[in-house]
Amino acid sequence: MTDILNAFVVFANFVLVPGAAYGAQLALGALGITLVYGVLRFSNFAHGDTMAFGAMVTVLVTWWMQGHGVSLGLLPTALLALPFGIAATALFVLATDRVVYRFYRRQRSAPVIFVIVSVGVMFIMNGVVRFIIGPDDQNFADGARFLISAGDFRRLTGLEEGLAIKSTALLTLVVALVVMAALFWFLQKTRMGKAMRAYADNEDLALLSGVNPDRVVMVAWILVAALATVAGVLYGLDKTFKPFTYFQLLLPMFAAAIVGGIGNPVGAILGGFVIAYSEVAVTYAYKRFLGHLLPESLAPESLVQLLGTEYKFAVSFIILVVVLLIRPTGILRGKTI
């Protein structure tokens, strides 16, 4: 029995808990991508760098607050700085929309032109972030490190294996849940949210019904900025803040949005967790897990790892390809434009 418990604890420690936090981060990122896709009708290549930008502003404000002795006690100070990050990012993306995207929207350019334009925006954001904060790792996490550490867990339960839960993992899940609940409340219950869904569904019909397109687009960008900043900050707290990693997240986030059904918010969340758990599960070495379950003589000698961790991004890509081949609209039917 203890063997089974030990095996479960190992599995929870290395797959279940990290996967949940990573999944929530991907889901928030994918929600932003899906929102741009639904309302503005293009794949936003600048989304990863929008996350980096939001996280960067939050990091800077956090440092400033830490310098002035502001603290949230057990919680990271970054939570206090988050609204500033969101506000700055919202201003930035609204400015880009005004200067860049609006022109092509009025021209009714093809989606692929928007994608190329977003590459230009990506370049600029990339340069701005590196210019301000540099290309290196930055640490801005404070507050309690662990909800429960591996040692404490072992002492509490008397099991051989420990289960460490980082406080940032729980924080990620709670914040993600709150943000998602707020988003769905907004989309389902408010007048603006309904207008946005109508606009995403059928632009011409929505316009005929008196929906103000400029307001819809504006609110959508603000939501995207908020989602991107929250996702970027949570990822940075949980792992590390480094500008390039946000660009690399683009692939798993797109995969999450498409696998779930692009344009469909529930799909984005589902996709985020599907991608995160597959990545973690495929790159996890099952040696210790199996060691507890199997009798001594059968215990594996190799790592029992399907793919090296360096190939974790390949996993999201393979899932993406398989879903595109079998069910191009995604698990929950998304839209195709």
């Binding site: 590459v119 210019f131 690399q248 683009l250 995969a255 190799s302």
Partner: protein, 438 residues
């Protein structure tokens, strides 16, 4: 300015810019920029074949360039016999397992009726094949990587002349493009973008991590060169004589001689590819491609096989990028997987094509020259500008130091601005596509 004069004037301007660098900075630098301009132009040509001819949005140029680099290693590096005898059989067996699995899957899919049983059979075949392949592969890789890890630890290449790898790189890139195209070209345009973005990341991950093939981040250095070495030239009597006759410094002259030889080789490749691309563009095939790009439904109604034609252009364009990738590794003399960066190897190429003129081969070549030139020169220019702008602060002022240190990143912003301005105000590029009316 009339359209026919535009291209020559712009190219003359480009030549003048390189000459200015030669006179005011150094000819060695000018030629170094020229060489990379030539390679960038070839890559831009490849992207133009895909985007300009057929409207395919491929953001995987980095991956195809990396394939070219791998080809350069596999073709030209000296073979490591010991590694082959240590792990060659194991690799061969795992390759057999992979081929066997593929054959098994094809057979299962052909013989069994569609349904749940077939799905399980395919899954079982994959599982068995994967286990067998790993069983043979893992020890072989360990054995190979254990062979003198500081110097080799990989299989090495064939030891052939490195210029052969240019063609091989093109062929390998074409092969990979065929697989990707088969999967992704039937899908919507932005899915192709995401698929190519993903595959290019994966190719670079493979190059970084499969040490038995490419030595990974340990890099493969000392690849053979198609041109003489500077040290040899500096001791060759004929060269010293010539240099003395012209009153040049032998060290400087040897460096220029080497770079010039590269430039001639690259220019020859560029001209051949450019000629072929122009021929293709102005052939019935090229007209068909443009008709597919501009009105897919009409082309399809005329009986054109849209997907097959797209696959064709996708493969051709990717092959050109593969050739350029192999040439780049040749110029560097080493393969360094860690340096492949999507901004530099994919998106910068896109800026070249858009700015130069998508759909026009000459335009893409010009874009390759111009953007590479700006990209290189923006770094010292940015540093100088920051230096001047922050002159008012003290020499050791942290703000001033930060600004100067970070100036290099301003060129990303500059490239973004160039791309956005070009798209907005000159969406057809500097040398627009020629359209024949009537």
């Amino acid at each position: 300015m009339s359209a026919s004069l535009r291209a020559p004037v712009l190219f003359a301007f480009m030549a003048a810019a390189l000459a200015v660098v030669g006179f005011y900075q150094s000819w060695s630098l000018s030629l170094a920029i020229l060489n990379l301009c030539l390679i960038s132009s070839i890559m831009a040509l490849g992207v133009n074949v895909q985007w300009g001819y057929a409207g395919l949005f491929n953001v995987g140029t980095m991956g195809f360039a990396a394939i070219g680099g791998v080809a350069a290693v596999l073709v030209s590096a000296a073979p490591v016999g010991e590694a082959w005898s240590a792990g060659g059989w194991g690799l061969f067996l795992s390759l057999l397992a992979v081929i066997g699995t593929i054959i098994a899957i094809v057979l299962i899919r052909a013989k069994m009726p569609k349904g749940r049983a077939r799905g399980f059979a395919v899954a079982a075949a994959i599982l068995v094949g994967y286990t067998l392949a790993r069983w043979a592969f893992d020890p072989a890789v360990d054995a190979i990587e254990a062979v003198d890890p500081a110097l080799s630890g990989y299989l090495g290449g064939l030891g052939l002349p490195i210029t052969v790898s240019w063609a091989v790189g093109g062929l390998m890139a074409a092969g990979v493009a065929w697989v990707i195209g088969k999967i992704a070209l039937g899908l919507r345009s932005d899915y192709l973008a995401i698929a190519t973005l993903g595959i290019s990341e994966i190719i670079v991950f493979i190059a970084k991590n499969e040490d038995w093939m490419t030595r990974g981040v340990k890099n493969v250095t000392g690849l053979p060169r198609p041109v003489p070495y500077e040290v040899d030239l500096q001791q060759a009597p004929w060269f010293l004589e010539r240099v003395a006759a012209w009153g040049l410094d032998p060290v400087e002259a040897s460096s220029i001689y080497v770079k010039l030889s590269y430039a001639l080789l690259f220019a020859a490749v560029l001209l051949v590819l450019l000629w072929l691309s122009e021929k293709a563009l102005n052939s019935p095939w090229g007209r068909m491609m443009r008709s597919i790009r501009d009105n897919e439904a009409a082309a399809e109604a005329m009986g054109k096989d849209v997907t097959a034609r797209r696959l064709q252009t996708f493969i051709l364009g990717s092959a050109i990028c593969g050739i350029a990738g192999a040439m780049l590794t040749t110029l560097d003399g080493q393969f360094t997987p860690g340096t492949y960066n999507p901004l530099r190897f994919t998106f910068l190429i896109w800026v070249m094509v858009i700015v130069g003129g998508s759909g026009n081969n000459w335009g893409s070549v010009l874009g390759g020259f111009l953007i590479w030139f700006v990209w290189i020169q923006a770094e010292p220019a940015g540093r100088w500008m920051m230096d001047v702008m922050t002159m008012g602060f003290g020499e050791e002022n942290p703000f001033r130091l930060h600004m100067i240190e970070s100036a290099a990143y301003m060129r990303f912003v500059l490239m973004g601005l160039i791309l956005l301005v070009a798209l907005r105000f000159a969406p057809k590029g500097l040398i627009p596509e020629r359209t024949k009316l009537g």
